[in-house]
Amino acid sequence: MLGTGKFRNKTELTASIKASGTEIVTVALRRIDIERHEDNILEYIPEGITLLTNTSGARNAREAVRIARLARESGCGNWVKIEVINDSKYLLPDNAETVKATEILAAEGFIVLPYISPDLYTARALVEAGAAAVMPLGSLIGSNQGLKSKEFIRILVDEIDGVPVIVDAGIGAPSQAAEAMEMGVDAVLANTAVATAGDPAGIALAFSLAIRAGRLAYLSRLPAGHSQAAASSPLTGFLFEP
C-alpha cells in the first residue's frame, strides 16, 4: 500500500503507484481538493486502484468519525484508514480513541483500517469492533527507522487471526519491507521512503520486489535463525550412551 503525501509532483505519484503494483493507496481527506479540478490529487490515481481515505488531522474519535463521513459524502468511497493523532511532535496514534472511532464507523458500514501503536489488547479490541485490518507502526511516521517495534508486531502476527496485519509507518527502505513480510505480516504501507527518494518510481518498484521476496520467503517457511544445535549432544548425550 502506498501513501500519497510528500511527492514533489503528482506525475511522479502516478508513476510510483504504477511501479509499486499496489492495489490500495491512501489519501488524506484534508488534502483532497474536492471543489477544484485542476491538480486534484484524485485525478492522479490510476483507475482500478482502491482509494483508502485517511483521517489525518483528527485529534479524537469524534473528529475521525466526522472526517470519514465527510469523505464518504464527498464520493471518496467507504474505505477509511483511521489516524487519530493528538501529538504533533511524535505523531503517535491514540489507540483508545482509534478503537472508539472504529466501533462507530464499522457499524456504519465503513471498511475500517486503523493505524495503531502495536498493542495486543488494542488489536483484539479493534477486531472485536469490526476493523478490516490492524495497522501497527514499525516506527514513528516519516522517521525511516524501520521495524523498531518488531517484537511487538510479531505478537500481533502470532495472535491476530481473521484480519490482516499491515505494517504502517517508519518503513524507510525496501529491505525493511522485506523484513516485515518475512515475519509474516500481510502487507506494508510505505510513503516517505518512496515520495522523498531521488527516483520515486524506481524505489516503488524496489519495494514491490522486496515485498514479493519477503512474502515468498515467509510462505516458503524461511528456516528459523541460526540454530545452536550441533551434531553432538554435550548435555544430554550421556542419557543415550550404550
Binding site: G5, K6, F7, R8, N9, K10, L29, R30, R31, I32, D33, I34, R36, D39, G57, R59, A61, R62, E63, V65, R66, I67, L70, I85, N86, D87, S88, K89, L91, K100, I104, A107, G142, N144, T192, A195, T196
Partner: protein, 345 residues
C-alpha cells in the same frame, strides 16, 4: 533544550562551510518530514482600527492613517477576489481594537470566509478561552499571535499603550487558544526588536512548553523582519540574510515537524532560496492593506501594515514552485463540524 551560548555560537558563525552544513541538515529534515511540498496562504486585512500603540506598526493608534473596517458585503467582495486567485487558506487580520472589531464582527467574518476557503486562521487581538472556543465552533482552524519580543523591557518600550502593552496577557494567549480547541497555532518574534538570540531562546522555550501541554496542536513559527511602512522606517532590523537563514535552519533542526512560515515581506530571491532550506508555508499574492484586493484601487488610497517585497501573483508562485519541483498545497484542511457533542454517532 539549546542554550543561549549555543544559539549565539550558531548566529555568530559566518563560516560558509558551517552555514552550508547547517542548511543541508535543515533541508534534509524538511524533506523527510514535509517532502517537497509548500502550503500557500494569503492574508486578508478586515480592519485597521487599533487601540494599541506599537511603535513599529503602521496601524498603531497614534498613526494618522485612513481607518477602514470592511462591512459584510465588502469583506465578501475581498474574499471572493482572494479565492479567485486560487487561495484556499486565508489568514484574516485586524488591528487590535476590541471596540471596532469585537467578537461578533470576527464571527461574522469567519462565517463569510467559510463560503470561500477551506482553512481559516485569525491574527487579531488576544481573547479569552471561551471566545476562542466560540471561534473554533464558527470554523476557525488557526490562531496567529506573535509575542514580538520576549524581552520585557524592550516589550514595554515599543508597546506604549493599549491592551497589547500587557506582556503577560499576550504571552498567555497561545495557551488560551489551545484550551479553546484551536487546531493550529502560530508563534513568532519580530526580528529587529530585541536581542535575537535571547528572543529565539525564549520562543523555543515557549513552543516547547506549548508542545508539552497541548501536544495535539499543529504549531508553526514565523520570523518577520521589521519592514518599512510606505517607505518610512519605524525601526531598523539588524538581522541580515545570512543570520535570517541560519535562524530558519536552527529552528528546523530543533523542531523537525514544526511549520515555518515566510511572508511576502521578504524579497523574492530570498524566498526562493528559503523554500529549498526549510520553509514550509508561503503567503502569495498578498496585500497588507484593508480593501487591498479590489475595494481600494490604487496604492495611494491604501494604508498597508507593512511594505511588501515579493509582489508576484499566486499564479507566478505556483509556476515557480512547480519549476523547482515543489508541489504547491492549497487545501490542507477540510472544515468539519466543530460543535461539541457527547455522542459522536
Amino acid at each position: 533544550m539549546i542554550s543561549l551560548t549555543e544559539i549565539n555560537a550558531v548566529l555568530d558563525n559566518r563560516d560558509p562551510v558551517s552555514v552550508e552544513k547547517l542548511a543541508q541538515k535543515s533541508r534534509g529534515l524538511t524533506q523527510q518530514y514535509f517532502g517537497r511540498t509548500i502550503s500557500l496562504y494569503a492574508p486578508l486585512y478586515l480592519s485597521n482600527y487599533c487601540s494599541s500603540h506599537c511603535t513599529y506598526c503602521g496601524f498603531h493608534s497614534k498613526n494618522r492613517i485612513a481607518r477602514i473596517r470592511l462591512d459584510p458585503a465588502q469583506m465578501r467582495g475581498e474574499m471572493e477576489n482572494v479565492a479567485r486567485m486560487g487561495i484556499e487558506n486565508i489568514l484574516l487580520l485586524t488591528g487590535e481594537s476590541y471596540q471596532a472589531t469585537p467578537m461578533a464582527y470576527l464571527a461574522e467574518a469567519v462565517r463569510a470566509a467559510r463560503d470561500y476557503f477551506t482553512g481559516i486562521s485569525l491574527e487579531v487581538h488576544p481573547m479569552e478561552t471561551d471566545e476562542y472556543r466560540e471561534l473554533f465552533r464558527q470554523g476557525v482552524d488557526g490562531i496567529t499571535v506573535y509575542q514580538e519580543t520576549y524581552d520585557r523591557d524592550r516589550y514595554a518600550e515599543v508597546h506604549l499603550s493599549g491592551r497589547k502593552s500587557d506582556y503577560n496577557y499576550r504571552r498567555d494567549t497561545p495557551r488560551r487558544a489551545a484550551l479553546g480547541g484551536i487546531r493550529q497555532i502560530s508563534l513568532g518574534i519580530l526580528l529587529g526588536l530585541g536581542d535575537t538570540a535571547r528572543d529565539l531562546l525564549a520562543l523555543y522555550g515557549h513552543l516547547r512548553w506549548m508542545e508539552k501541554h497541548f501536544p495535539g496542536v499543529e504549531y508553526s513559527l514565523s520570523f518577520p523582519r521589521l519592514r518599512k511602512i510606505k517607505g518610512r522606517a519605524f525601526a531598523l532590523c539588524d538581522v541580515d540574510d545570512t543570520t535570517f537563514i541560519k535562524i530558519l535552519c536552527l529552528t528546523r533542526v530543533l523542531f523537525p515537524r514544526v511549520g515555518l512560515n515566510l511572508s511576502t515581506r521578504e524579497k523574492p530571491a530570498l524566498r526562493d532560496h528559503a523554500i529549498e532550506i526549510g520553509v514550509t508555508r508561503l503567503s502569495a499574492g498578498s496585500n497588507t492593506a484593508v480593501g487591498g484586493y479590489g475595494l481600494l484601487k490604487t496604492p495611494a488610497e491604501q494604508e498597508p501594515q507593512f511594505d511588501i517585497e515579493d509582489k508576484r501573483s499566486v499564479h507566478d508562485i505556483v509556476r515557480l514552485l512547480k519549476a523547482k519541483e515543489f508541489d504547491p498545497i492549497f487545501t490542507d484542511w477540510r472544515p468539519i463540524d466543530n460543535a461539541p457533542d457527547q455522542n459522536p454517532s
